[in-house]
């Protein structure tokens, strides 16, 4: 059973093979119709990809596609070219960290505010003895303060 070239074929198209490897692959292509058809298809695909220019998938799509691949597996050069540059990744990480810090700060402040509630004010609960105070004020004033409605019998009110 003849073994076909597989991934070595795409490496040949991308020019990534050494001289010895390239000789072996070319020798195989000379005798294998299937691999020649696949090599032609790959070249056509590569030309069309180049014809598309710099248009590429968005960052989010790229990262999702990369996540589908095997961890530590060999990545094609075309895929590595779509990874975000290092400064952008750092900005992304810093943004995430800042958002985390802000969220934690707000949460902590809210917790502190909630914990500070419910404190009973210092001292006893006091209802001002306004009727007694009114008498003392009247004794002091020598004038006529308005009669509070809460002081019963505090004067004859004339309509």
């Amino acid at each position: 059973m003849t073994r076909h070239l597989g991934q070595r074929l795409s490496a040949l198209i991308d020019g990534e093979l050494s001289d010895t490897q390239r000789e072996r692959v070319l020798a195989h292509l000379a005798g294998c119709e299937d691999c020649r058809r696949e090599a032609a298809a790959l070249r056509m695909l590569k030309r069309r990809m180049h014809a598309l220019g710099d248009a590429g998938a968005g960052d989010a799509l790229t990262w999702r596609l990369l996540a589908l691949g095997p961890a530590g597996g060999q990545r094609p050069a075309a895929r590595r070219a779509h990874r975000p540059p290092a400064p952008r990744r750092r900005r992304y990480a810093w943004s995430l960290a800042a958002a985390g810090v802000v969220t934690a700060g707000l949460g902590l402040t809210g917790a502190v505010f909630l914990a500070g509630g419910g404190r009973p004010p210092p001292g006893p609960k006091v209802v001002p003895a306004v009727d007694v105070f009114m008498v003392q004020h009247a004794i002091t004033t020598g004038q006529v303060p308005a009669r509070p409605s809460s002081v019963p019998g505090a004067g004859t009110k004339v309509p």
Partner: protein, 394 residues
């Protein structure tokens, strides 16, 4: 085609709109900050209200007219102490531009050396003890709560005058003799009391024969009448007083000397000295209640009288029988429709303010006293942090 904007690089620094906005904002902020700093330095802001205020009006006149007016008022103060008299007073207290107000009728008895007894017809009596009676023993006199048929606080010495109040009048107002009139069928001389700015603050009608005050009207800073008290009938002289009832209430006897006030302040009691509106502390008393001691501070400028009752504690919420109102930018409780009695709690103390004064003066006093309106959330955060730290390090 014209472009709508020019490239920033081609603009001179002084013509860039963004730069101009920044410069304008900086200048405005600087002006505001300078104004605030200047006002703080002059003590014009609320926080500096307890500090001595600059004299903003012109000094009271010291001419012959002022001397004659003051002489008559001093005679009136002496007459209030020494003359026996009995009569009926009609009193009205309003709020300047507001219609309505309260009107009361009280009967008044006075014997030489004492203070006036006042009583509404058919009710028990409020007494005013002699001025020389306060005890320095330091004992607390229990507060006697008033029942539903309690004494009448309205008419307590409504026309009373003391030498201390006359001295304050002389310091803060211009007093002149305005002419002659008649009250309750008796000839009277009219005294005009003016503010340093020139507006009328009060009129007194003094009995021509005895100098006893027969009528008094007070005005606010906008010359609106805020109170009027007058005898509708009066008898003066030996034999004029008869049938006076027994007293059922008296002033708190524990007066606080300056040294005692200083000790209370040192222990954390917020007891202000002079207040805005030329209000001078004229009396300080203390009593006890089931909730603890109460300090009564009385202030006057010679005409207005403001009493502030301070006690430790906090107000219940809601405070039944009171309504919450906004006064001079602060939330306080008012006990009556005319809003001359206010209460609020701040920093562990409850303040109850009762005023016989123009509303503007009351607002100034309220602003000058402590409030918890501002830093409440900061205090809550501080307390919350302390509580959470105690969880970590009990």
């Amino acid at each position: 085609m014209q472009t709508r904007s020019r490239p920033a690089a081609s603009m001179a620094p002084g013509t860039d709109p963004a730069a101009l906005r920044v410069i304008t904002t900086a200048v405005l902020v600087g002006l505001v900050a300078s104004g605030v700093a200047l006002a703080s330095g002059l003590g014009l802001l609320a926080g500096g209200a307890a500090a001595p205020r600059p004299w903003t009006g012109r000094a009271p006149a010291n001419g012959p007219a002022q001397a004659a007016g003051l002489r008559l008022l001093r005679e009136a103060a002496q007459a209030c102490r020494s003359l026996p008299y009995q009569g009926v007073e009609l009193a009205w207290w309003g709020r300047g531009s507001r219609a309505g107000g309260d009107t009361s009728v009280v009967q008044v008895w006075h014997r030489p050396g004492g203070r006036a007894l006042t009583q509404e017809p058919g009710a028990p009596v409020l007494t005013q003890p002699p001025a020389a009676s306060p005890s320095a023993s330091g004992q607390h006199q229990p507060v006697a709560p008033l029942g539903t048929s309690g004494p009448n606080p309205d008419g307590a010495g409504a026309l009373g005058m003391s030498t201390r109040l006359v001295s304050l009048l002389a310091a803060n107002y211009e007093v002149t003799v305005a002419g002659r009139g008649q009250v309750a069928g008796r000839p009277a001389r009219i005294i005009t009391v003016r503010r340093p700015g020139g507006g009328v603050a009060a009129w007194f009608w003094l009995d021509s024969a005895t100098s006893l005050p027969l009528r008094k009207e007070m005005f606010d800073a906008r010359s609106h009448l805020i109170s009027s008290v007058a005898f509708t009938e009066v008898s003066i002289g030996p034999g004029a007083v008869s049938g006076e009832p027994a007293a059922t209430a008296s002033a708190w006897r524990t007066t606080l000397a300056p040294g005692q006030l200083a000790r209370l302040r040192a222990s954390g009691w917020p007891l202000p000295g002079p207040l805005p509106g030329d209000l001078t502390l004229i009396a300080a008393k203390e009593s006890t209640t089931p909730a603890g001691p109460v300090v009564d501070l009385d202030y006057s400028d010679g005409l207005s009288v403001v009493s502030i009752f301070v006690q430790r504690g906090y107000l219940p919420t809601p405070l039944h029988g009171w309504s919450q109102v906004a006064l001079a930018g602060h939330k306080v409780y008012a006990s009556d429709p005319d809003e001359l009695c206010f209460a609020w709690a701040a920093r562990g103390f409850v303040y109850t303010l009762i005023a016989a004064a123009p509303q503007q003066t009351v607002g100034q006093v309220v602003v000058a006293l402590p409030h918890d309106d501002g830093p409440g959330w900061l205090a809550r955060l501080k307390h919350g942090l302390q509580r959470m730290l105690s969880w970590v390090r009990p």
